[in-house]
């Protein structure tokens, strides 16, 4: 099996705080990994390193065999957990922006996704609700033809109906040639998408495995497991 993503003993420190304390993981091509943990557990730090936005303090990380950086920009499509679109933009401008920035951006696909998400190209970015903004970001990220999609909290601050839409969009756009890492602390709605899951707490992986095997082994859903593991967090 082809490995698309691999870390070994990866650490990241901010001044005195250790955000990642030596994490190791592998993800096969065509699989979806759920990165599960409460706020402040190190999810975003790990994802930013994958996206090439942060440098690790020590350890190794490879995406499609490459160290994250300029080389991996075409490989990775990253959904950050914050809004990065300019305030003056309309949705239409955001599409042009992405199209000019990324060679692998598929405008046709983006327009189809906008329609699916019930978003109007003429809306101003600043007029969008939190849920609509999340849908727009996801539309942009999924309209790239990348090998690895990294989605940081795609369900954050989104109502249940919009959540369904987002999950549908992720599923429709996933294919066996691509892989995904999705971070969340809302496990219940999205656990049926995961092949593999890893639980992260205070910068360490405390549990990882195949989602179905974990269900068999523990006799619990991933959501129940999550609540059990993080009950004090």
């Amino acid at each position: 099996m082809e490995i698309i993503f691999k870390t070994e003993n990866l650490t990241k420190s901010y001044m005195t705080k250790k955000a990642l304390k030596g994490v190791s993981i592998e993800l096969e091509k065509g699989k979806i990994l759920g990165l599960l943990g409460p706020n402040g557990s190190g999810k975003t730090t790990l994802m930013k390193i994958c996206a090439g936005l942060l440098r690790p303090t020590s350890g190794e990380i490879y995406i499609d065999g490459l160290v994250p950086g300029l080389n991996t920009k075409p490989v990775v499509s990253y959904l950050p957990d914050v809004n990065y679109l300019y305030r003056w933009m309309k949705i239409r401008d955001a599409i042009v922006f992405f199209d000019e920035f990324y060679d692998d951006f598929d405008v046709k696909k983006a327009k189809k996704l906008l329609e699916f998400m019930n978003l109007d190209e003429n809306s101003k970015v600043t007029s969008l609700s939190k849920g609509m903004l999340e849908k727009l970001h996801l539309t942009l990220v999924l309209s790239r033809k990348a090998k690895l999609y990294i989605l940081d909290e795609p369900l954050g601050g989104v109502d249940p109906v919009a959540r369904e839409k987002i999950i549908d969009a992720i599923l429709d756009n996933f294919n066996e040639d691509s892989s995904m890492i999705i971070s969340t602390h809302l496990v219940r709605d999205i656990e049926r998408l995961f092949d593999e899951v890893v639980f992260i707490s205070q910068g360490e992986f405390i549990l990882k495995g195949n989602a179905e095997e974990l269900r068999i082994e523990k006799g619990k859903s991933i959501d129940e497991l999550y609540r059990e593991v993080f009950q004090d967090a």
Binding site: K31, I32, R192, D195, R215, K220, S221
Partner: protein, 128 residues
């Protein structure tokens, strides 16, 4: 077709059970083609890899067969479909018996209660 999944049971097993039920009840007929992995993943809103596993396991159990290039089909073997039916009925019976045993019924009392039920009366607590 979205299933309400019971998170404690592997999703692929729940989808297999749903397909088996459709076969036993005749919703899916022998020789009929199953939808593609992709389509079924979208219907059930699950990861395509999960459906891949469903198809592998169904084939391993002899419930479906794959014709290269054309897709996955449901077996026309009546024996397999019949044994599926028996297997599923055993599950229903087991759940029933477990429930009755929990209520404190002995096996004789359960049989009597079932007979009474079929006679149109209710299982009368005073008679047992």
């Amino acid at each position: 077709m979205t299933l309400e999944f019971d998170g404690r049971i592997p999703i692929y097993i729940q989808i297999m059970d749903k397909i088996k039920l459709d076969i036993v009840t005749g919703k899916l007929k022998g020789g009929e083609k199953l939808t593609s992995v992709r389509e079924m993943a979208e219907n059930f809103k699950v990861n395509p890899n999960t459906i891949q596993r469903v198809y592998q396991e169904l084939e391993r159990e002899g419930i479906t067969y794959t014709q290269r290039g054309t897709g996955t089909f449901i077996t026309e073997d009546k024996n397999i479909i019949n044994s599926l039916k028996v297997e599923m009925s055993m599950n229903v019976i087991k759940t029933f018996i477990d429930g009755m045993t929990n209520l404190g019924f002995t096996s004789e009392e359960i049989i009597k209660a079932v007979n009474d039920y079929f006679k149109g009366g209710k299982a009368n607590g005073n008679n047992i």
